[in-house]
Amino acid sequence: MTTQHKARLRAMAMAFDVTLDGFSSEVAARSAIDGFHNELLRADDLFSLHRPDTPMARLANGQATLADVPREVIEVLELCEHYRVATGGAFDAQRPDGVIDPTGIVKTWAVVRATKRLGGVPSWLVAASGDIVAHGGERRVGIADPRVKGDPAGSKVLDVVALGGEFAAVATSGSAQVADHIWDPVTGKPARHFLQASVAGQDLVECDAWATAICAGGGPVVEMAVAAGLEVLIVAGERSEGGFEAVSSAGWPSASL
């Protein structure tokens, strides 16, 4: 008999909910969850910009060069550059002062890395503060109402997608939690293109980067995301008569509500 194992983990000052299915052994499940958690904590040690001793903080303040930092830091910086080019500049981790701040992608990068520790788990789902990835059988995942503040778990949702089969990951970006936190690369002003953008695909980092880029760059970036093989749901605005105006790409994996 197998049971479900759930854990809420903290790392990077965020909550990560892990659900494991198909494991018969409590010890094996605990071991998988611990391994997953350790990988997330490793990302804290590498990338926190608050702690002055992390490789990323030392790089940002000029105390270290690229030659001095662990390969994981190089990997993340290369990912930032990859998505900057791929999104036509809409995803850009460079701050106005010239420092590269990869905070926007470290979370999902760390999650994808940590899921390699779940290799022996028949079926799992990871909810990483709003970005979701699943493996081994379809699971229903909601798309948050952009008006909901805080943890959207348990709230009403705008749409439901099936993850763990054809699509593994979905990431959502928008203004729900912090107003005007994304900048438009064209105007240099806070991006107000959409209330919310969700991107579904195979790779959580890719979905995350494109969701951020779409909120920053608007319509043209949506087109680029679809051309890159991703599926997109945009919540454009609230309707005066109730509900939200939205558009979805042709293959957006809606499941029935």
Partner: protein, 144 residues
Amino acid sequence: MRGSHLAVIVGGCAVIAAAGFAAAPPLHPVRQGADPEPGTSATPGPSSTSASGGQTFDGPAVENPRGVYQAQITVVDGVVTDVVALQAGTSAPESVRVNDMAIPLFKERVLEAQSADVEAVSGASFTSPAFLESLQGAFEDAGL
């Protein structure tokens, strides 16, 4: 599963004209970083005495691509009695109507918030790492 769902189609606008995309403004290689307003990037603040008799500690202003965040805690007799965000983003957002985007082969939909049986919900990150980093700094300043 792919494409098998039926979206709620609004009027006759299931397919939006393709012409608009070409007319959209080009993307320039301008950065998308945090751009704090002048005067908002405070440094780690000294403690002060609040009206309630406790001491307040300002965390450092922590900046990330999502903006500038700064936490302040109030401590009374070694106990945190209040946590406030001195800085968390800028002004309120405005929604933009979908009609402004002209993207081909998209389904225009009207979505309503509904209860659904789901295992997880995807939404904008609901904890700001920068805010919590600033909060951590305030705790350290307070010696907690």
